[in-house]
């Protein structure tokens, strides 16, 4: 049987091969493309399962790719239980999305490149998950970004899609400037780009505190961009212009979670000031995202802002050093957010519009979707005993005593409010459009993945009760690693860790439940008064502010985009008129000098004779003077 050393690198390699083949297929080869896409995702999931079953000890592999003058770049994996679990989550969601897309894009003539790009994305995400080298991780990180760009711009009938794609790529690219600088700094100081070597250098103190903190802050820029944390969050709601399965895969379950994941992989780098900064960003983003979600009419935008807010929960947990709760929430969020997006896709497919003001009363015609989304929304709110309750509770328990706790509780209220609002507006009440009056359940290829995702959304929380699960989510102890991949120096101090407890059943549990009840009840009461109207009307004058997310988009446009474009135009003018002007000026100057000399040569006899005589006089004087000196 294949050893884990091969299974690890195979994880990203298989979807990558499927992507390469898929990109070369002609547009009419729908069937082969679908088989390749779904098959590739299925094989990746199977490899992940095989890896999980054969996993004994955390391990790593590395093969040198190239040596840049003493700075080697290696291709290899660094696999521990956290990597395995996240890889499994990616595989499950990718498979669900690929299967769903076959039906969702049934009448799209560019399905073939779409499927290949989704496979490429899956390969890149898996590369980020298992990579053991920082440069190779950067490769996966950026390829995910470009796939996001390509897929957001997929729908040619949406005029706002190309702009949204460019915005998504550029905002994350700005963050990635810091990410590259952080990686460069770590690699230079540690002498290697391997994660194990970098962590080892930090453990032995080879890397000074200043270097580590600077690198951590720089890496944080990339994390903030990818995981849509304030102030680099502005791209995510606009990215909803992409097809809904993409929103489920990239912008909910996987790519945006990659930032959180990278922080957990490189936790020692972020210790100290970077985590404080992350905490502040998380506290702001949590409420920002939740409040913005309360005022959206577009169902996908509600979910997008919800994602921003939930990612902030994970970031908040990391900021207090609680890695296990953060990863636990990452896993449950992947399940229920993918479920919600795919379910929203079924709803949009049935109604023909993204807007909740055109929905209503859909629960009768779409029972499977209704029940699945109910579970998903319950998990999002944190309703016990669904998965989201356990993971959110783990995070809140870990942040007790911090500002993040208050922020988290406030967000629970708002989350419950907007989740209930979405549930009621979409599935209850009278239909508000013709299409909503005659809904049909989504075809099986769409409804089955949604229903299947309801299972982990409901039950994944109980994994927290399994002993050792929490421990598995934290970075393994040095003694557990095979070979030299532990990331500490040999013979370093023995690290003893207490067991990680994810479940906290106690009186503190009352607070989140009260907040949940308050938010949910509030939304229901407002809705009950007028079932056709939008509960968001109670926001009154604040509604446009929330709907535009505090006008941060406009701020970004004014502070960054316009000045950059204006500066570019000025530089272009300067380059053409000044720099090139100098060059052209030499040409013109030479021509005019030539003209002057030519005119001098054409002078008439009297002037020429005068010149000859004057020249002779000068030469005679010079000869006399020099002769006198000699």
């Amino acid at each position: 049987m294949i050893s884990v050393d091969v299974l690890g690198p195979l994880l990203p390699a298989v979807p990558f091969a499927c992507a390469l083949v898929g990109l070369l297929l002609p547009l009419r080869a729908r069937r082969p493309a679908a088989v390749l896409a779904v098959g590739g995702a299925a094989v990746a999931l199977l490899i992940g399962i095989a890896l999980a079953l054969r996993f004994r000890q955390p391990f790593g592999t590395s093969v040198e790719l190239v040596d840049f003058g003493g700075l080697p770049v290696t291709f290899g994996v660094r696999v521990d239980w956290a990597a395995v679990y996240v890889a499994l989550a990616v595989g499950v969601v990718a498979l669900a999305v690929q299967a769903y897309s076959v039906s969702y894009l049934a009448d799209d003539d560019r399905y073939v490149p779409y499927a290949a790009q989704v496979s490429l994305f899956t390969a890149a995400m898996l590369l980020v998950v298992v990579s053991g080298d920082l440069i190779v991780l950067l490769v996966g990180w950026e390829v995910m970004g470009i796939c996001s760009y390509l897929l957001i711009g997929h729908d040619r009938t949406l005029p706002e899609a190309p702009g949204a794609a460019v915005k998504a790529f550029l905002v994350t690219r700005v963050g990635d400037v810091g990410f590259l600088l952080g990686i460069a700094l770590l690699g230079i100081e540690a002498g290697s780009f391997r994660i194990a070597d970098v962590l080892g250098a930090i453990a032995t103190g080879d890397l000074s505190g200043v270097v580590v903190t600077t690198a951590g802050l720089l890496l944080l820029a990339g994390v903030a961009g990818k995981s849509a944390q304030f102030p680099l969050h502005t791209w995510l709601p606009d990215a909803m212009a992409g097809p809904t399965p993409i929103s489920a895969l990239i912008h909910a379950a996987t790519m945006v979670a990659a930032g959180i994941y990278v922080v957990t992989r490189l936790m020692p780098v972020f210790a100290g000031t970077p985590l404080t900064v992350l905490g502040v960003m998380a506290a702001i983003t949590m409420l920002l995202g939740a409040l913005a979600a309360t005022a959206q009419d577009d169902i996908k935008r509600v979910l997008a802002w919800s994602t921003v807010s939930q990612l902030a929960y994970m970031a908040g947990a990391l900021a207090v050093g609680a890695v296990a709760p953060a990863l636990f929430h990452l896993l449950t969020h992947a399940a229920f957010k993918a479920l919600l997006f795919l379910g929203a896709g079924s709803v949009i497919h049935a109604v023909g519009s993204n807007l909740m003001s055109r929905m209503g009363g859909l629960r009768r015609g779409m029972p499977v979707t209704f029940w699945s989304m109910t579970i998903g929304l319950g998990a999002l709110m944190g309703l016990p005993p669904l998965a989201g309750f356990w993971s959110k509770d783990a995070i809140l328990a870990s942040t007790e005593g911090h500002l993040l706790y208050a922020s988290g509780l406030a967000t629970v209220v708002v989350t419950a409010w907007y989740a209930t609002r979405l549930w009621l507006r979409t599935f209850f009440g009278a239909p508000r459009s013709d299409a909503a009056a005659h809904p049909h359940e989504a075809p099986p290829l769409m409804s089955v993945p949604v229903a299947l995702l309801a299972v982990p959304s409901a039950l994944l929380g109980f994994a927290a009760f399994r002993s050792g699960f929490g421990d598995r989510l934290v970075m393994p102890l040095p003694a557990e690693w095979v070979g030299e991949y532990s990331g500490t120096a040999a013979g370093g101090p023995a690290v003893v860790r207490e067991a990680v407890e994810l479940v906290h059943v106690g009186p503190a549990l009352a607070w989140p439940l009260l907040c949940l009840a308050a938010g949910s009840l509030g939304a229901w009461l407002v809705w009950r008064r007028d079932r056709a109207a939008d509960p968001a009307r109670v926001l009154g004058p604040v509604r446009p502010v929330f709907a535009n997310a505090f006008y941060l988009d406009a701020v970004q446009d004014a502070l960054v985009v316009r000045p950059a474009l204006g500066f570019a135009r000025a530089v272009r003018r300067a380059d053409e008129s000044i720099v090139d002007g100098a060059v052209e000026g030499t040409g013109r100057g030479t021509l005019s000098l030539g003209g002057v000399l030519a005119a001098a040569h054409r002078s008439g006899l009297p002037r020429a004779a005068t010149a000859v005589l004057a020249g002779a006089l000068l030469i005679g004087l010079a000869a006399a003077a020099l002769g006198g000196l000699a």
Binding site: F68, L71, D176, L181, A184, L565, V571, V583
Partner: protein, 501 residues
């Protein structure tokens, strides 16, 4: 002998192709393609027969193969050719791009097409000049081959170019001649001070025993000359006009390999022959390189014409290469070498695509293009790939040069180099911005009138054949940079051993 064959084959081929009569124009172009293919085969074979890779003790420059014959002793001019890990990738790139250009010329030649064989002949002559520059191990011979390239390139632009071609060709030839004059003076200085023009001897002794002041003067002369060629801001203004007006194959060769003569000259001649001068001038070079990155990117962000935008993007990319060279470290030079090759591959592909778009839509203005993916999805797809490769996406060839130029600059340490590294990284983000803008204007959105009425939306076989190798190489070099850098590590280390900052 293979070295001489590498130069002789295209030279003889050029003569033969040019002598064929006008009625045999198509067969003449085919003959030219065969000659270019033969040259490519010889260049690949050159890499298979390598002697010891490790530099001999005390020798900074150890060619795998050498060929030395005394030519004009009075001018210190020996016909001394050789290839090592630094020049070999460039040699293969040159023969490959010339071959692809000849294949493309069989498909289409601008103008009436009756003089296509002359264009192919000129391409082969240019190839001889460029290959000679990369293979020359004698300073005066280097200068001779450096000059050989100028007039044929002028003829290509002036004969087959766009509307404003004569002015652009004039500007190109006069500006680069100015650089060549400085190069000649520099060669003079070195030969008279060191007494020899042999690059192997000069590199081995770290400057042939020249005084520091002489080395400084020589380096500055060389640097300005190669800066005009590279081009380095602010000596770059010949490039946009030349590229915009040149025919497609002219632009491909110009961007793909001609610019590399400048950066190669900086590494081989300027640093190899005057290392102390290099150490002194390196900070200035670094600052100008970063200025080139930023200015190039900002101008591209405000550009309105397709070929001009790609031309300014070359200024930006060469800025990264020159930054790598300016750090005078192994990481930096390795980054510069792979950046060179990557730029040649990717920008060559971009100019092929720009030519294809202009041929189909008869316009290069971004305002008049749009929605290419609606009518010509294959072309739009390859353009997207090339643009994404050019913005330095990790996983494709352009990434390594850009990222590791930044790494090298940070590794140098000190305030200046750290700031330069950070600014270069910001330049990377700007590069992404303008390429995204380009793609949005050209490929996305509704189909503009010029694009909707395009005559030939599908890619022809010739186009696929000439572009496929570049697409494959952009991916291959991106995933396996050792393809380019595996051979150059030792020569670079040996070269830098003579440089002591």
């Amino acid at each position: 002998m293979m070295l001489v064959a590498l130069l002789a084959v295209p030279a003889l081929g050029a003569v033969l192709v040019a002598l064929l009569p006008a009625r045999l124009d198509r067969p003449a172009r085919a003959l030219g393609t065969v000659v270019a293919a033969a040259a490519f085969a010889v260049s690949v074979a050159l890499g298979l027969d390598r002697g010891p890779l490790l530099p001999a003790a005390g020798q900074a420059l150890t060619p795998w193969q050498q060929y030395k014959v005394s030519w004009v002793p009075g001018l210190n001019l020996d016909f001394h050719l050789g290839v090592d890990g630094i020049s070999y990738p460039l040699v293969v790139l040159t023969t490959l791009l010339t071959l692809l250009c000849c294949v493309y010329s069989m498909w289409t030649v601008p103008g009436d097409g009756a003089r296509g064989r002359l264009l192919v002949a000129l391409l082969l002559v240019i190839e001889v000049g460029i290959l000679g520059t990369f293979l020359a191990l004698d300073l005066v011979l280097f200068f001779v081959f450096f000059e050989v390239v100028l007039l044929p390139m002028y003829a290509v632009i002036a004969g087959w170019g766009g509307e404003d071609r004569r002015r652009a060709a004039r500007k190109f030839v006069l500006y680069t001649l100015f650089g060549s004059v400085l190069l000649l003076v520099g060669v003079f200085v070195v030969v008279s001070a060191a007494g020899t023009a042999d690059l192997v001897t000069l590199s081995a002794t770290g400057g042939g025993g020249m005084a520091r002041a002489t080395q400084l003067a020589a380096f500055i002369l060389f640097a300005v000359a190669f800066a005009v060629k590279s081009p380095l801001w602010p000596l770059h203004t010949w490039l946009p006009d030349a590229h915009t007006e040149a025919p497609t194959v002219g632009s491909v060769i110009l961007a793909g390999v001609l610019l590399k003569m400048g950066t190669y000259g900086l590494i081989r001649v300027a640093i190899g022959v005057a290392p102390e001068g290099a150490v002194a001038v390196a900070p200035v070079l670094g600052v100008l390189a970063v200025a080139a990155i930023l200015v190039g990117s900002l101008v591209c962000l405000a550009q309105s014409e397709l070929k001009r935008l790609i031309a300014y993007s070359s200024v930006g990319h060469m800025g990264f290469v020159l930054l790598g060279i300016a750090t005078l470290s192994t990481v930096g030079l390795q980054a510069a070498l792979i950046g060179n090759i990557a730029h040649g591959i990717i920008t060559g592909l971009l100019f092929f695509l720009a030519g294809a778009i202009k041929d189909r839509t008869h316009t290069g203005l971004l305002a008049e293009l749009g929605g290419l993916r609606e009518t010509a999805p294959g072309l739009a797809g390859v353009l997207g790939f090339a643009a994404i490769a050019s913005l330095g996406l990790p996983g494709l060839a352009g990434f390594w040069g850009e990222a590791f130029a930044v790494v090298a600059s940070l590794q140098r340490g000190g305030t200046l180099w750290t700031v330069l590294g950070v600014l270069a990284a910001v330049g990377g983000a700007l590069t992404a911005a303008y390429f995204m803008r380009l793609l949005r204007r050209v490929t996305h959105g509704p189909a503009a009138p010029a694009v909707a009425t395009t005559a030939a939306p599908r890619l022809s076989t010739y186009e696929l054949v000439s572009w496929a190798p570049l697409v494959v190489l952009a991916l291959a070099v991106g995933l396996l940079p050792a393809l380019v850098l595996g051979l150059s590590a030792d020569p670079v280390t040996a070269l830098l051993a003579e440089v002591s900052p």
